[in-house]
């Protein structure tokens, strides 16, 4: 579903992403790990067509993002870091706006979709509140609801559990697991237990380069007896 090929992204003289390649298939939950500033978010932004790559490309569902970004955006649900949303809109207005932009123009088309995600993300009690009045956890869930609204075959989630309390984290993880069978999912995080809990594959990236691309089992087999945390520290320590 997602194929990233030799992705390079420079910010001026700084090389944020340096030749990243990987593939994600339907049914995969790819955990994108790395220290802060390793290039996780940048890679995701390039996949989404928000940033233009310096070299290389990403192909999502057969569409090259450098050629036809709108087709890619149609297929993907994206939760940007910190879940930005229009603060003066209510949750319902915001989801209604997203539905309209996603092509569900009539109320008959958009209503059931909005109801579904409001339900799924437990937003019922805040649905008539403006987004600026919401707590971090609710904001995050609004962003998640927005990404799920059109039931996309591909999900790209930038730190989806950031700012949630342990119960909510657990719930979001369950939600992701449930949806995994028919979707290809990339999620970035620096919470290691999360990766072990739900991911079927792990990519560790540091200084813009992929240093590990394996299943959790393979990773443990390779570093016998070590905790993921130790492995992570070993591989990314050179950064600090």
């Amino acid at each position: 579903m997602i194929e990233v090929q030799g992705l390079v992204k420079n910010y001026g003289a700084l090389r944020a992403v340096d030749g990243v390649s990987f593939k994600v298939n339907r049914g995969d939950i790819l955990g994108f790990l790395g220290p802060n500033g390793a290039g996780k978010s940048t890679t995701m932004k390039v996949i989404m067509g928000f940033l233009r790559p310096t070299a290389g490309t990403a192909i999502v569902g057969g569409h090259d993002v450098t050629v036809d970004p709108v087709a890619v955006k149609r297929m993907v649900g994206y939760l940007p870091e910190n879940a930005p949303a229009y603060p003066e809109m209510t949750v319902e207005e915001f989801l209604g706006f997203i539905a309209e932009v996603r092509g569900f123009r009539t109320i008959a088309q958009s209503r059931p979709r909005i109801e579904r995600v409001v339900d799924l993300c437990h937003l019922t009690q805040v649905r008539r509140q403006t987004i600026e009045t919401l707590s971090k956890g609710f904001k995050q869930r609004v962003g998640f609801a927005q990404a799920l609204l059109h039931d996309p075959p591909v999900l790209v989630l930038d730190e989806p559990t950031d700012g949630l309390d342990p119960n909510q984290k657990h719930e979001v993880r369950n939600l992701i697991k449930q949806m995994a069978a028919e979707k290809a999912i990339i999620l970035s995080t620096h919470i290691l237990e999360e990766v072990e809990a739900i991911c079927t594959r792990i990519i560790i990236i540091t200084r813009g380069k992929v240093v590990v691309d394996a299943t959790p089992e393979e990773l443990h087999a390779r570093h016998a007896g070590a905790q993921l945390e130790e492995i992570f520290r070993d591989l990314t320590q050179t950064d600090t």
């Binding site: 067509g49 940007p80 930005p84 997203i98 092509g103």
Partner: protein, 213 residues
Amino acid sequence: MASVGCAFFLGGFFNANMASLESYFAFLPWLFIAFVPAVGMRLWSEEKRAGTIELLFTLPVTTLEAVLAKFLASWAFLCLAILLSFPMVLTVAYLGDPDWGVIVSSYLGCLLMAGAYLGICSLTSAFTKNQVISFVVSVFICFVLVLLGWSIFTDFLGGYLALPAWLVDLVSNFSFKSHFDGFVKGIIDPKDVIFFLSLAGFCLFLNVLVLER
């Protein structure tokens, strides 16, 4: 309100003893200098500051669509604001017998001019995530573009600096005011229409380029 105030107190609306809105419309190019940037300043800068621009451009829309949609929405708002000055029209219609052709052409000029101002504001707003900077820069640009056609300024160029007439004409041709004055006199010149539309169009084109950078 401010526009009506200007017409009443500065423009000699009643003293002129004429059933026309000329004194009302004459002040609009000056008022728009502050009014339109206030509407346009947050178009892109607010999206950038709040990070929602990342959301907007990961939805299935092209940059051109987004730029045009934002422009048209704000333009519609400005048009509504302009048309809400209709009590002025009712007033002159009650007090006398105005020339309706002139009023219609003045309003048309107004709407087109607002579009051109807005194009500039939309463009400057795309350069910064700070609304205040966006506002100040667009006020400045709009001010210069009005000033170029102000009779006192052109007299200064032609008389004091003794610049040749063609050069003075060239300079004042870039001004909102010179192109707007025709409409207020009841003349709808295609040249003026094209000036406003092409200025807005050019700014929006640059706007797309800036955002895709």
